[in-house]
Symmetry: none
Subunit: 418 residues, 2 copies
């Protein structure tokens, strides 16, 4: 068995696409010059990967779970826990986790869902809430943590809770906060009823606590909208996931530009590296991302990188932006090709899902993928892209197969049987 | 997300095949000119579809269940419920359903299993049975309904019944009706024992009831064989299946020539359209079928069409008949291509299974399939057929994937994750 071969997954978020009329019927990957990606395909082994199952559009969270070897059908219980972990909360299996907004309430009506995109002081507001709720609500522990601007996360920890409850955030202004209720079908579930009572009690009391907090007294004096209510939404239950290092026997790092995916990495106990210059936008510095990947490989057995920009071009339906983002992915992969010894490394290039320009959202199409480096068995494919990779030796496979395929090349997957 | 894109599955029943010596070693699809099917393949995305699993021959019922997204391994409990639903019985989950023949009994021996292919009066015979059994048998409700000629269906409704019983129909003449018994392995099962007793009691008493019915008195007077016994066979338990509209969030119509599949459609709450001229035979009018599909698409989100004739050519091992039937499929698909706006529709062409001429029955070979229209990502395939489609970008997939693949193109499948 090989030892010491290191594994890299380099993803262009949402990189796969469909033919685009404005690109002469080519996909962005077919249209854009991608010398590095083409080299990987030409000297590597290619295929088409479905994130979860053929035709099922995946989220960023479920797709990355599958790529890292955790079946989302079995383990995915909402984005809340990964969001909460990503902002630094100590999320434990079984916790209920919510995304929250600090919002502005006036006479019981929400007048600003983002409290004027409040820039500072939310740490003090979160602390005020945590102190006021130190004894919990009806035996349920409540912990709040601020994120950037008006964003925050909250966890509820205790017995007899359920994620089958609706949002308190009404997703619009001019109305009061929604009553949190059991979701349809869970009306008779005592845990859902109890959870809704706790959330409603939290929302009600958060108004008094936040209104008298010095940060808000100051904002009102300055004529700014106070952050005088916290509105939970997007609840999820924190799943029991084995840490990445135990699941695969590999030390893993993640260098990604999406908070939600970073939260997943932290939840799995991976080393989540923040890279200055990796903005998550079209202006991201792909070279610092690639350099960070090379640096992380010196310390870890496995590194997953995700460059977000292609997904943005897909969501915005802008061919030029998606092609430019693909060129960034190509340069980053080119850097890896030059920087690493490929007798000692194995690489997968691809995406977490497709975000077709003509669709403007994630689709359930297969993602073109290529493996390169140690142990890889090259096929006939000479170019990277949706159509060329359809002829690859790996055929069609699922994201759930990736850790096995990669580990197989690296020699880190144990034989099953004798 | 796209809205309003409508979805069509157009099947040639049993269309897939194997090389045929009489066709110079080509398959019927390779031999027959099929300009419309080839266009779909050339401008579409192709693959090979296994109805249930590689190599497992599927029935029409199980293949269509899988195509509509209901796992037959989980939900298929015999054809009886779909037959019974197809003839108009109110079949409910948990009912036992049988196909039946009105037959002729003489001195306790079956002399004609089809009662001279009796043409009329079976509605009165069924009514006589329903009246006579109005109080049920041992607490079990009995409901009979006539179908065409000598055919009928029966349901048993009650507690403590089991589908693990043998047929009362001996499938041959010159012998008495079989005793209905628990199937091997179920001999000690009280529910199977009870069901067998009810069936035997029904068969015994049906003889007296039917013998004195005016329809049979008349037939005897005319020298025709009386329909004086009803012989149940092919029992199945009606499964709990979510209606198609709830399963997929789509209003669905079915235009098919096979009673059994029509019964499945009715069981799923689909709108099952009867088309005059669609005979189910080699003489069927494929253009009225195609026109009916276009009409149904004006009212529904999803339409499944099945033209039966290719399957007949396969079962009869007649290459000319199968090629002629494939030409009919091609003309029907050609009509669809001209009639519909393909920015607003997505089509799958294929079959429910293969019925190879050299085999004379359904096989477990993969079926060539092509998708065309909105959202589809064309591949390198230039022709429709078993060999060309093996090079398609969809590779190998299962019928159970079809509703996801089609819904992915149409934009009607919800994202899993965030």
């Amino acid at each position: 068995m090989a030892h010491g071969v290191k594994q890299i997954i380099f993803l262009g978020d949402g990189i796969g696409d469909r033919p685009v009329p404005a690109l002469g019927g080519k996909t962005p990957l077919e249209y854009q010059e991608t010398p590095a990606l083409d080299l990987v395909a030409r000297e590597g082994e290619c295929g088409l990967m479905y994130p979860i199952r053929p035709g099922l559009p995946a989220g960023s969270d479920t797709a990355h779970m599958a790529l890292l070897g955790y079946d989302p059908h079995q383990y995915y219980l909402g984005r809340g826990p990964f969001e909460a972990k990503g902002v630094g909360l100590d999320v434990r299996p079984g916790d209920l986790a919510f995304r929250c907004n600090f919002a502005t309430l006036s006479d019981g009506i929400i007048t600003d869902r983002r409290a004027g995109r409040i820039k500072s002081g939310t740490d003090q507001l979160a602390q005020a809430l945590n102190e006021a709720f130190a004894d919990g609500i009806d035996g349920v522990q409540v912990i709040v943590k601020e994120s950037v601007e008006h964003r925050a996360a909250m966890i509820l920890r205790g017995e007899g809770l359920s994620m089958h409850v609706t949002d308190a955030d009404p997703h619009e202004v001019g109305v009061p906060p929604w009553d949190c209720k059991p979701t349809p079908g869970a009306e008779q579930d005592p845990a859902a009823q109890r959870t809704a009572r706790v959330v409603n009690e939290f929302v009600r009391r958060s108004q008094e606590i936040l209104s008298r907090a010095p940060v808000n007294v100051e904002r009102v004096a300055q004529g700014l909208p106070p952050a005088n209510v916290l509105l939970p939404r997007g609840v999820g239950t924190a799943p029991h996931l084995q840490p990445f290092s135990e699941q695969w026997g590999l030390s893993g790092a993640m260098i990604v530009e999406v908070d939600l995916v970073r939260g997943l990495g932290m939840y799995l106990g991976m080393d989540v590296v923040q890279v200055p210059g990796a903005t998550g936008g079209a202006d991201t510095d792909e070279m610092v991302l690639a350099q960070a990947a090379v640096a992380a490989l010196a310390e870890h057995d496995f590194v997953l990188c995700n460059l977000k920009a292609p997904d943005l071009g897909g969501h915005d339906s802008t061919p030029e932006a998606k092609c430019a983002a693909i060129a960034k992915v190509d340069r980053a992969v080119g850097y890896l090709l030059d920087a690493l010894d490929w007798d000692e490394h194995v690489l997968m290039i691809g995406g977490d899902h497709c975000t077709p320009i003509t669709h403007g959202d994630h689709s359930g199409d297969a993602v073109p993928v290529a493996f390169y480096g140690h142990g890889v068995r090259p096929d006939y494919v000479t170019q990277y892209g949706e159509r060329p990779c359809s002829q690859g030796a790996l055929g069609r496979f699922l994201a759930a197969d990736v850790m096995y395929l990669l580990g197989n090349y690296a020699g880190t997957i144990h034989k099953f049987g004798a």
